[in-house]
Every structure is written in structure tokens, then in C-alpha cells.
Assembly symmetry: C2
Homo-oligomer: 116 residues x 2
């Protein structure tokens, strides 16, 4: 099968890797209500993480520095960085987290694309 | 620098690879008005593409088959598949396209994450 499609319901966390049969990324759709946070600090062994905020606002503490985030923002985080995501005290946060292996991309767009 | 953050303006196509210093993915934010389409069919050499619709509706023709798409849908497309994206005749389409190298992801989440 050359493609897979899903229509996840809005709400709880959804992890797409298995559902979409991804082989180059894991992607999660996440929601935290106002005042909530991911309950731990974490880093990664190999994976770059890319975050984007779909709705709401919050912040990420990265190696002790607070980075404010609002809808439409994009953030790349290196594997070794120690990170923790927080929803704003007065507003929930819906966001994507994309995990990819650092330095795994070779060509892209014009180098990798083939007009048919 | 252990992270990069940007706040792209809504509107024209934005390619994130250079702006965010990505190393494992290229991500584009795309908008097509009602009735528009990507003006060519393309495939890829190495890269899996992952699409999600942020707003509006449209369709992708994949190897001759039409796959309908609406806000919230997710789609994985294999490198070899011949694809072309269309906005609906009566509604524009805002979507993300994530390019990653097929089979590049090794561990993820619990295997790759390190609690701190």
C-alpha cells in the first residue's frame, strides 16, 4: 500500500507511528489543559524533536531556560537538551511533537523529488 | 544552541529546514486557495512524506486514486507513489508536509527518551 490515511478524534494524546505505518518519524498530537505540564523532564538519545503549537499557549523549559510558545510557533530541540512542556496557567495547549533521527535527512524537495 | 524557535507568518508557503536548522526532516507549511492545485505530479527518491490538513479541505491523487482530505486528517505517502494535491473547488487548504528519509527512525519515545 503506497499510502495510509487516518482521521484521529480530537482530545487525548494520539501517537501516529503505528496507526500511519510511519518509518521515518514518530508524531504525537497532544493536549494539556490550562496549568498542566508533562510530569517529567526528558532528553533523547538519537532523536531531534520538532514541536508546533496548534492552539493555545504554554512554554517549554529547555536546559533551564523558559521558551514561551503560542499557536503557530515552531521549535526544534536537540537530542541532548533537557526539556519539559507546560500549558499556560490560564489556557490549554494543543501541540504536535515530531521525533526524527538527528542528521538522518539526506536530500529533500528538489534533490529528492522526482517530477512525473 | 540546543534549540531554535520561529514564529512564521500565516500566508505563503514556508519551508522550515533552514529556518529551524532541522537535520532529520524538511517541513513545509502550505496554503492553496479554493480550486488551486500543486501544478505537477511528483514522487520521491528516498523520502516518506507525511501530510496533515490544518484548515479547509481538498484531495490528493495518489497513483491515480483520489483520497479526500479534511482538517485533522493525516496521510503517509511512500516515496515511489505519484502524488498531486488539490484544494477543494469551494474551499482553500492549509496543510503541513513533513519529509523524512524512509526507514530512518530507529528507537522512539520510550526507547529513545531519557528521563532526567
Amino acid at each position: 500500500m503506497n499510502y495510509n490515511k487516518i482521521s484521529p478524534e480530537n482530545g487525548a494524546r494520539v501517537e501516529l507511528h503505528d496507526k500511519l505505518k510511519l518509518t521515518g518519524a514518530e508524531i504525537s498530537i497532544n493536549y494539556m489543559p490550562a496549568g498542566a505540564s508533562v510530569p517529567f523532564v526528558h532528553a533523547h538519545k538519537q532523536n531531534e524533536e520538532i514541536y508546533t503549537v496548534l492552539e493555545g499557549k504554554g512554554s517549554m523549559v529547555i536546559d533551564g531556560e523558559t521558551v514561551e510558545l503560542k499557536a503557530g510557533d515552531w521549535l526544534r530541540v536537540s537530542p541532548a537538551a533537557k526539556r519539559q512542556m507546560f500549558a499556560a496557567p490560564d489556557e490549554g495547549l494543543r501541540y504536535l511533537c515530531i521525533q526524527v533521527k538527528e542528521n538522518s535527512l539526506e536530500g529533500y524537495t528538489m534533490e529528492d523529488g522526482v517530477p512525473c
